[in-house]
Symmetry: C2
């Protein structure tokens, strides 16, 4: 996974565990794609201080993922749902019964619309 994209995902999962200041800075860098210089100017601080905060947050976010594995679990959940849908589609091909086809459609809809 691209480091920038992964960091943006980790920020979605663990951003709530950062301080508001850390979170805002990371959002500017990873989601808004601002440069260190631009962020430093917004926060009236130095480029170096901005870089240090990003580096510290990097370490924090990776450490949370190492401990809680929410990103990994979210990927596994996606695969789980994908397999479910594929298996339901397979069952669908085995029948001409409209009631069964309707129930399978309902179940597919339930699987795709439920977020965990």
């Amino acid at each position: 996974m691209d480091d920038r994209f992964e960091m943006s995902l980790l920020l979605d999962f663990y951003g709530v565990l950062l301080t508001e200041k850390q979170f805002d800075l990371m959002k500017l860098y990873y989601d808004e794609d601002l440069s260190l210089g631009e962020i430093a100017e917004i926060n009236s601080t130095s480029r170096q201080a901005t870089f240090d905060t990003i580096k510290r947050c990097h370490k924090l976010l990776y450490s949370y993922e190492e401990k809680l594995m929410l990103l990994k679990k979210s990927e596994e959940e996606k695969i789980f749902k994908k397999v479910l849908i594929e298996k339901l589609q397979l069952i669908n091909t085995l029948t001409d019964d409209d009631r069964i086809k309707t129930e399978i459609d309902n179940l597919k809809e339930y699987v795709t619309s439920t977020t965990m």
Copy 2:
């Protein structure tokens, strides 16, 4: 949910975010059911210091749940799987086709055996 049971679950989810010392103490109190006095003796500390640590960890664990909601999500996941199984059982009652029944059994097995 019983506070003691809930705390034990929160400890399962967020225990990795506590220090090793905090985690061990909480396990003794919530999972091993030792008294404050017994834990204080094991750690060569006071009953009050033990109580203070438990109180601090309490606050920490609830704050993690407030932010990350892993316990809540785990309950939702259980309901999601329960509904899936029920709907698959319903489809099962609508058919006499052995291939479909087998596929439904496989799918039920997949749902129950997959941990996320």
